[in-house]
């Protein structure tokens, strides 16, 4: 019997293996971030954890009680107002009127949606819709929260507010799993799972993932002939397990560098 999370889970969707022996422990009070590019398997993982996908192999552990889920498409009913969306979730989870009102007010305040409380879901901006989706997932104070790319398309200030909300939720004792394409968000996680083409690229705490780097990362000002290089701001990064490239200076690899290097080491594209 496993705790919450995935243990050696394989998910096949038709002829495609969307997840291939992927494991992720999800502990109360911890934010687990799943990072990966398009088609990495993040949404399949989120849906699997939410109980929406049957696994071909492995085991999934979920709390018996409440699970909050924000799907990749936000999960907001477009023809209900912000308040009506939240009220429906409260009713479905049998939350009493008074606690529901308090919780809704707190979430509207935290997500900055108070001024848009009477606006239809269809009339919200993409970012606002995602924030509402997160608020709906958190409303019932679930034991486990699964958020599928909650920060995609959200402005930087709102991203910060959403992260604060997610951190508060974890601090209150919930297990939080969120997927993202933003590597900087992985830095804030208690646990990271990096996926590529349905397989685990790296896993562990941010320190463990950073420590898993084989070889070293170097910086150069211009693109070179090196096989494993990628653009980073105005400069270029090169990863190699061999001798340092000529004219390159070694840098302290951050999480983004480590994950890109891991991808390249696993047979990813030579240049990005």
């Amino acid at each position: 019997m496993i705790g919450w999370g995935l243990a050696e889970v394989t998910v096949r969707l038709g002829a495609t293996t969307a997840l291939d022996r992927v494991s992720l422990g999800v502990d109360p009070g911890v934010v687990a971030v799943v990072v990966g590019g398009d088609g990495a398997g993040k949404t399949t993982l989120a849906r699997t954890l939410a109980g929406l996908v049957a696994v071909s192999a492995g085991a999934v552990g979920r709390p018996v009680g409440r699970v909050g889920y924000q799907p990749a498409g936000s999960g907001v009913w477009p023809d209900l107002t912000v308040t009506e969306n939240l009220s429906f979730v409260a009713s479905a989870f049998h939350i009493g009127a008074a606690p529901a009102a308090r919780r809704m007010a707190a979430l509207l305040e935290a997500t900055g949606l108070g001024a848009a409380r009477d606006r239809l879901g269809a009339n919200l901006s993409g970012g606002m819709r995602r924030k509402l989706g997160v608020a709906m997932a958190l409303l019932a104070e679930p034991e486990m929260v699964v958020l599928d790319e909650p920060t995609t398309g959200v402005d930087p200030v709102s991203r910060y507010e959403l992260w604060r909300l997610v951190s508060q939720t974890a601090a209150a004792g919930a297990a939080v799993v969120m997927t993202t394409t933003y590597l900087d968000e992985a830095e804030r996680a208690g646990t990271i799972l990096a996926l590529e083409a349905g397989r685990t690229l790296a896993a562990g705490t941010p320190e463990e993932v950073r420590g898993s780097l084989r070889g070293a990362v170097y910086a150069v000002d211009r693109a070179s002939q090196a096989n494993h290089q990628w653009r980073r701001g105005a400069a270029w990064r090169i990863w190699t397990e061999g001798s340092p490239p000529a004219g390159a200076r070694r840098v302290d690899a951050d999480l983004g560098d480590v994950l890109i290097a891991a991808s390249l080491a696993g047979g990813g594209e030579g240049s990005r």
């Binding site: 038709g14 088609g39 949404t43 929406l52 498409g73 009913w77």
Partner: protein, 351 residues
């Protein structure tokens, strides 16, 4: 322009269901409706009653098929038989007179009887003719009850199918799947507004029909309400099932119309079932509108008692139970592991 044409061909090719409908449906509909579209009445079921019934049996024109002979029957028994819809006409024969009572709710058959009896009166001057329930053989009196059924069908099937598929397209079925809701909760909650709207529509249609078009209402409102509720269960269930097998609203509309058209033409509202070829008539007996039409027309026009409508009411209940079970089963598939709001249809695309 060429780019646009190529794009459209590619899209149409991939929408195989629409393509199949575009090619097969016209042929299928032509064949079915070709056999169904007939107002011709070959023969009409009649009963003979009264002391002179036996003597009259051999003199009845061929077009009238005698199914019941009851020498002990009188006019009241004849009217009761007609109310129950067992026969279309009853000839009540005493020793010195014959009167023909005709059920005006069966428009085309009643007209055939009138035509036949009018011709026969030249040989039998004492023969009297009386059309009951719809004395002027008014078309609207016969059509309005069925029209009420069509409204229920439209709201129940077409509109409901859109309501659920919209949920799928918005991705909100996934939300429902993780909520502590039972499949039947979702089904009942989903169809409740449509149920009320359809019920209101039916009331309006019947009131307007009765007031504006003088459609009689001779029977029990409760019996009609029971038939309507059972019929609505069928139509709403079918709407949900259609929605659950459709990927988008366009497909849902197509499928809903496919269930609507046969019911319009094969349920006996327009063409009498007895006039249809046996090859397509059996389809009519599978359609819920056929039985709703029998109940509505029976209650409204003939004032049929409930015990004479147990067969159509029972069949509506059976069809309703089947549709409800199928709809709940589809919701269960959506709302449990592996369904995931996508009906279990793997798209093979990891995200």
């Amino acid at each position: 322009m060429w780019a646009m044409v190529v794009k459209e061909f590619r899209q149409v090719r991939r929408d195989r269901r629409t393509l199949a409908m575009m090619i097969l449906m016209p042929v299928l509909l032509l064949v079915i409706f070709g056999y169904a579209a007939s107002f011709d009445v070959a023969n009409v079921k009649v009963a003979l009653m009264g002391p002179g019934a036996e003597a009259l049996r051999d003199r009845v024109p061929d077009r009238l098929e005698v199914t019941t002979v009851d020498p002990a029957g009188d006019r009241d028994a004849a009217v009761d038989l007609l109310k129950r819809g067992r026969v279309v006409a009853v000839i009540v024969a005493t020793t010195d007179s014959q009167s023909v009572l005709v059920d005006g709710s069966e428009l085309f058959q009643a007209r055939a009887v009138v035509q036949t009896v009018t011709a026969a009166r030249q040989e039998m001057p004492g023969l009297t003719l009386e059309v009951l329930f719809n004395p002027t053989l008014d078309t609207s009196a016969v059509l309005v009850p069925g029209l009420g059924g069509l409204i229920l069908l439209f709201v129940g099937t077409v509109i409901t199918s859109l309501g659920v598929v919209r949920e799928r397209q918005a991705g909100t079925l996934e939300q429902l799947a993780v909520m502590p809701l039972r499949p039947r909760d979702v089904f009942v909650g989903k169809v409740a507004p449509y149920f009320l709207v359809a019920a209101a529509d039916l009331t309006v249609v019947l009131v307007v029909g009765t007031v504006l078009f003088d459609v009689p209402f001779n029977g029990s409102v409760l019996t009609l309400a029971l038939g309507s509720v059972l019929f609505l269960f069928v139509t709403l269930g079918v709407g949900v099932v259609i929605s659950s097998v459709s990927e988008n609203q366009g497909q849902a509309i197509q499928l809903a119309l496919m269930t609507l058209l046969p019911q319009v033409l094969l349920s006996g509202i327009i063409f009498p079932l007895s006039s249809m070829g046996p090859g397509v008539r059996w389809i009519g007996y599978l359609l819920p509108l056929t039985y709703f039409n029998q109940v509505a027309r029976g209650v409204m026009v003939r004032g049929a008692p409930i015990d004479s409508l147990l067969v159509p009411l029972g069949l509506l209940a059976l069809l309703g139970a089947i549709a409800f079970t199928l709809a709940v089963a589809r919701f269960r598939r959506f709302l449990t592991v592996g369904g995931g709001g996508r009906g279990g249809a793997d798209d093979g695309t990891p995200a």
